[in-house]
Symmetry: C2
Subunit: 255 residues, 2 copies
DNA sequence: ATACGTCGTTCCAACCGTCGGAACGACAGG
DNA sequence: CCTGTCGTTCCGACGGTTGGAACGACGTAT
């Protein structure tokens, strides 16, 4: 079982965790489908499922069809990952208000090193909306949320993100270091980030505003996520000001 | 490596998951402490940590001291376990209101088969309060929340819980099948559950009210969690009515 | 200053747990 | 009736995993 260099992990545990993630994403799901998407032998998947059941993470949610799903155990783990402090909960009211003021979809993304995790969503009433599954990991250099966070980080950390590599997601993703530095500078000037060019997902534009802790370090960000067909650059200043106000309001709640 | 009969899981994966849980509970934490609490060789723990890092679940949060903690990945998994429907979020406002009305700690517990998981808390202003860590698993037959849920289940499912075994947690836990059936009946009469005898945790009394979906199946419950030193049975009807009202309000939100 | 305990980290050979192909009965659809 | 797919079970060979031992660094008590 040869893999890329530098990997020393326990193979069977990695495979088991992989199955756990796939079940989380596709539940309720059966053995064969899992084996197909994970490209593993069916009998191995079966064994991993039994292991995860024994550990209390999974259970058969539909006994008749042998479909697997998550137990409640991951809820507890997830809560601990989010921190009991409850940034998420603190942000929900402001998120709702922002969504109402703008009638657009608002996402809350939490920073995790050099990436973001979408942890909450509030929809507007538009007939055409953007959609991202909660829990999705987003690139920090390829989203308005991420740019708004980068703009509040010291240059050294921005450079660290650049050094880690700027992966491309669409043909307009910012992959050039200087271009990213320029975008960070522009975001610092504006106070909010604008992604009008579908950096990450096709046909999705966004406006981002960062949420900071008491000493000004960015922890998360709001994003107004707007289909490009409806996005008008002329609206950006108004939407940006609303997003910044909402983010600042949450920042103030965090002591 | 001999274990109890009937277990067929992948050992290394079980050990790895065990370490994941311990890290979640104790983060930030080092190798030696983990090896001690999990009773595993230090070198094995080290390997499991590397594996979990490779899988994206853990990272070193304090590089100077080599302390490990969770990444944001579990947030996404946890959200999927809770269901995007967002029972938790739907319940938060009512929980806050209930806490204010009663000035007591309110817990939200979600059902997971024959157990409960505490997924949210709202404190009152009392100087003496109960405390349960979020993510804690509680017995369905040993809590007011659990009893309120059992009371809304058909008898067949109550019997299934009894058949699964009534583990004892304090010397007043209900472990007798008939006693539990009687308590379920009493709860059905009242509409809310009363645990005045510290069934689960010492010195903690509680009043529980179930939250149901559109067809009346109980999904979760509110509990007013009160130190026994302050608990007065005469207050139970008033508190019970408030808890039921709050739970019903959330139930109605769930279509 | 010295000795001691604990920390995180690395290495490696023997062992035994894991792997996955193969085969099974059940089921649904053509 | 046949075919494809489902979930499940079995077992021998293989190699991934195990964990004791040893390392240097650090902090503390002697």
């Amino acid at each position: 079982m040869s893999r890329a260099a530098g990997e020393t992990g326990v193979q069977s545990a990695l495979s088991t965790l992989r199955i756990l993630e796939e079940v989380a994403r596709r539940q309720p799901v059966g053995v064969s489908e899992l084996a197909r998407v994970a490209e593993m032998p069916k009998s191995s998947v079966q064994r991993y499922l039994a292991t995860l059941q024994q550990a209390g993470w999974l259970r058969i949610v539909d006994p008749e069809r042998a479909r697997w799903g998550l137990t409640a155990k991951p809820i507890g783990i997830g809560l601990r990952a989010a921190g009991e402090g409850g940034l998420r909960e603190a942000a929900l009211p402001a998120m709702r208000a922002l969504s109402r003021e703008t009638d657009e979809t608002v996402h809350l993304a939490m920073r995790d090193e050099n990436s973001l995790v979408i942890v909450a969503r509030r929809d507007g009433t538009q007939t055409v909306r953007t959609y991202v599954e909660l829990g999705t990991v987003a690139p920090i250099h390829g989203t308005a949320s991420g740019l708004s966070i980068l703009a509040k980080l010291p240059d050294a950390e921005v450079e660290a993100v650049i050094a880690a590599g700027l992966a491309s997601h669409t043909d307009s993703t910012i992959v050039d270091a200087d271009a990213l530095r320029a975008e960070v500078a522009a975001t610092r000037d504006r106070g909010y980030a604008v992604n009008a060019a579908s950096w990450w997902r096709p046909h999705v534009a966004a406006i981002g505003a960062a949420i900071t802790d008491s000493i000004g370090r960015p922890l998360a960000a709001f994003a107004l996520s707007i289909p490009t067909v409806r996005f008008d650059s002329a609206d950006a200043p108004r939407l940006g000001a609303l997003a910044v106000a909402a983010a600042d309001q949450v920042s103030d709640l965090l002591d």
